[in-house]
């Protein structure tokens, strides 16, 4: 329970010098220069952003901070505190919350949170908000779906890479690649070559599914949201290998990569404000699109962050 050093310190009977004024004091203060930029300007800006200042906290007897202790005292005064299993409130471990604006899912362990984040928020394509399992697959996805040059080149040469890492072979069509993966790499024929693996729960609003899939389509019964923005009809309808399709919200970019006006998507559950997320490093983030208090954020297509871009998407509720 207690670290042995601590026990030692509190129970040692020999008279070690434990006076505070005998303990060597560490030097206070900070270096005057900083390596990155002039300390003073950085310091000034930091002071505006970061507001914590060490301060002592006085508490009067009626402060809510003292509530539990007072209750315990009064239970004792009233002879009610002697009970073998006292139901006092026990300390809980903190919950973890996904910080992506609009995600807000809560998890009871950090492993659950990390799994969620790695599954849904990493390797996300900034054009279509699909999340891919790895950086390589993300690259392939972007190349095959969002690169206009690719389709031109694909007419002349073999561009469809085998998805198995290390294979290196390329094929002229998707079907050929699929055949290769089934025959050579022994992938099951019902592997989701062309359809998204829908992992998301049904609280996500789907985009308008125009059912032009192949017979491999696997669809879960997801309630159609009302009033989906039609801007998305330009997007390719076929799903891709192992994608997780987030709800394609209004407010994402049109194919040209320009931010568009957002339209609130109405769904049958709690209002969800989310829209894709933007990052503009030097300016304010908010650009309210609506009379509502929620803000929208958009990521320019050209921006992608090393560890996987983060996009907004809908999905609320608790996952345990």
């Amino acid at each position: 329970m207690l670290p042995p050093e601590l026990i030692q310190l509190l129970t040692a009977s020999d008279l070690v010098d434990l006076r505070i004024d005998a303990i060597p004091k560490l030097q206070v203060g900070f270096r005057p220069e900083s390596l990155f930029s002039s300390f003073t300007s950085q310091d000034g800006e930091a002071k505006l952003t970061f507001t914590f200042i060490p301060h002592q906290i006085p508490l009067n007897k009626d402060h809510e901070f003292f509530e539990d202790g007072d209750i315990h005292r009064h239970l004792y005064l009233q002879n009610l505190s002697t009970c073998p299993a006292y139901d006092s409130p026990t300390a809980r471990q903190c919950e973890f919350r996904c910080h992506i604006s609009g995600c807000s899912q809560v998890f009871s362990t950090v492993e659950d949170y990390e799994h969620h984040y790695n599954t849904l928020h990493r390797h996300v394509c900034s054009s279509c908000q699909r999340s891919l399992p790895s950086a390589r697959l993300l690259d392939i996805h972007i190349q095959e779906w969002h690169d206009s040059l690719f389709s031109i080149l694909a007419e002349r040469q073999d561009m469809y890479q085998c998805l198995v890492e290390g294979c290196g072979l390329k094929y002229r069509t998707r079907e050929q690649r699929k055949d290769h993966m089934i025959k050579i790499h022994k992938y099951p024929s019902d592997f989701m070559f062309d359809k998204a693996k829908r992992i998301k729960n049904i609280k996500i609003a789907k985009k308008n599914m125009l059912q032009k899939g192949t017979s491999m389509e696997v669809s879960m019964s997801v309630s159609e949201p009302k009033g989906v923005c039609e801007v998305l009809s330009d997007q390719p309808e076929e799903e891709e290998y192992m994608e997780i399709n987030h709800s394609l919200e209004p407010g994402i970019l049109d194919p040209a990569g320009n931010p568009i006006n957002t339209v609130e998507l109405s769904t049958d559950h709690d209002t969800a404000p989310i829209l894709s997320v933007t990052i503009q490093p030097t300016t304010n983030q908010q650009r309210p699109q609506h009379n509502r208090e929620r803000h929208s954020y958009r990521v320019p297509r050209t921006v992608c962050f090393g560890q996987g871009s983060v996009q907004g998407f809908r999905g609320r509720g608790r996952r345990i």
Partner: protein
């Protein structure tokens, strides 16, 4: 004296009784919380008599005419021996609250009891005192201090008497009356209750049951709401403080009752902030911190007694508030035992699961020790004694604990670069990577504040943070729906991590 053991026996008898007891206790706790929110948290104590225990469960409630009859006999009786028996019977009848209403309806009932209280026969005095004590504990609002006020000057006078049992009764009766109203307290003050308490505690200083009763009564006097501005200064000036302080030891024979009561008195005095300088000058901080160190030793040995938290709680609060009474440098002579810091780190570990609020308050005291202008010696001591890892271990816990720990860590980080480096050595950076992912936005905000201080102090800490895979966490936080969090995360990414935060424009055409 509080017969905790007796209560426990009753509780342990049958399983169903236990369940019912727990259920009642839970309901009761809810009521107490509500009362506290309404600023009406009041408790009274009923002293059990020796013969009460024997007859437990066999008493029948007397019919009202029987009570009236008994009272008449007391009133008119001439034979002292018989009167004593009648008074005893009356007192037993008063164990049933319905008898209270019957009695007070009788003309001059209180006056008669008071007469017997002051009468020549010691046994009659005792029984009369017991009757009044039962009435002071009455659940009926009609039986209030106003009714009983005829008795108070006598009760107060008897506090300077020599008989411990009788004195104890008078004390608890007065203590039960204190919370009733401001008028009552004014009256008691005017009638000289404080000098009387001061006398009492000196006369009976070896009788710990009486000392406990003095502590209880004083705590009721000074903890009531709307305590008049005169009571606390009167207590501070009365010379009671040194006597209260002398009780602050762990006497294993008698039990913790008296120490607990005196400690709560000191807490109420300290948080009223009337004259904490005077409290400190009389050695309050020194005594409280020594006792905390002793308790820390007990906790470390693993031999926590039941009820020990009732003592630790007020001591922590008293020390926490007294730390603001002056510059820490001036207080330092009373805070010179570095084991205090160890105790303050041991309590949260020990009480985390049973009393998390106590864990939180312990860390609050650490905040007050580390947040002052001249806290550097305490911060240095935390490193020297290797106590920081124990604090970091508390970061997963909610209930306000992790926020208070982050405050302490922030306080330490603000001391300087050396302190930041030591914090990193103690393993703070990976711990912050975890707290940054937590659901509570306040935890995240505080974590960012601490992180800023660390990274601003030395670039190698920023590198270490990146090595701990902190960068994706910060990037994720940039999309938080809380602006305060976004701004801070962005600031950190821009100012402290520029070599790493590259904008990759090659990802999509």
């Amino acid at each position: 004296m509080w017969r905790l053991n007796a209560v426990r026996h009753k509780v342990g008898r049958q399983g169903s009784d236990l369940e019912e007891f727990k259920f009642k206790r839970r309901a009761h706790e809810k009521e107490l919380r509500r009362a506290r929110k309404d600023s009406q948290l009041v408790s009274k104590r009923l002293l059990l008599n020796d013969d009460d225990e024997e007859e437990d469960g066999t008493m029948d409630t007397l019919a009202s005419d029987q009570v009236v009859e008994l009272f008449k006999m007391v009133r008119h009786g001439r034979d002292l021996v018989k009167k004593e028996a009648d008074l005893r019977a009356l007192r037993k009848a008063l164990r049933s609250p319905s008898a209270h209403l019957i009695l007070i309806k009788q003309p001059n009932s209180i006056a008669i009891l008071v007469t017997n209280l002051c009468g020549p026969n010691p046994q009659c005095r005792l029984e009369a005192a017991r009757c009044l004590h039962e009435l002071s504990h009455s659940p009926h609002s009609e039986v209030d201090s106003l009714r009983l006020r005829q008795a108070t000057p006598y009760l107060i006078t008897f506090l300077s008497g020599q008989s411990p049992k009788f004195t104890e009764l008078c004390l608890y009766t007065l203590g039960n009356m204190c919370p009733d109203s401001e008028n009552v307290r004014d009256m008691l003050l005017a009638q000289g209750i404080i000098p009387a308490l001061n006398n009492c505690i000196q006369i009976h200083r070896t009788n710990l049951a009486v000392v406990e009763a003095v502590g209880f009564t004083l705590s009721q006097l000074i903890s009531a709401n709307y305590v008049t501005g005169r009571i606390i200064p009167a207590v501070l000036a009365s010379g009671l403080i040194p006597h209260l302080l002398s009780v602050l030891t762990l006497d294993s024979q008698f039990g913790l009752g008296p120490v607990i009561e005196c400690a709560w008195c000191l807490h109420y005095l300290a948080c009223s902030n009337v004259d904490n300088g005077a409290l400190v000058a009389q050695g309050t901080l020194l005594r409280c911190t020594s006792l905390l160190v002793t308790l820390g030793g007990v906790v470390a040995k693993g031999s926590i007694e039941e009820g020990m938290e009732l003592l630790i709680w007020p001591l922590l609060r008293c020390v926490g508030n007294l730390l603001l009474s002056g510059p820490l440098g001036a207080l330092q002579p009373q805070l010179n035992d570095s084991r205090l810091l160890a105790a303050l780190c041991a309590f949260p570990q020990a009480f985390l699961q049973t009393h998390p609020a106590l864990a939180r308050e312990s860390v609050w005291v650490l905040n007050n020790l580390t947040a002052a202008a001249d806290s550097s010696m305490f911060c240095s001591a935390l490193f020297y004694l290797n106590l920081v890892p124990a604090l970091i271990q508390l970061l997963p816990f909610s209930h306000g604990i992790n926020i208070m720990v982050l405050r302490v860590l922030g306080n330490i980080a603000h001391q300087g670069r050396e302190y930041c480096l030591h914090l990193a050595q103690a393993g703070l950076l990976p711990a912050l990577c975890a707290t940054l992912k937590m659901a509570d936005p306040e935890v995240v905000t505080f974590s960012l504040e601490v992180l800023d201080q660390l990274m601003a102090s030395d670039p190698q800490l920023a590198e270490e943070f990146v090595r701990q895979s902190g960068l994706p966490v910060l990037e994720a936080i940039q999309y938080s729906n809380q602006e305060t969090i976004r701004l801070r995360a962005t600031h950190l990414l821009e100012h402290h991590l520029p070599p790493h935060c590259t904008v990759d424009t090659s990802a999509s055409p």
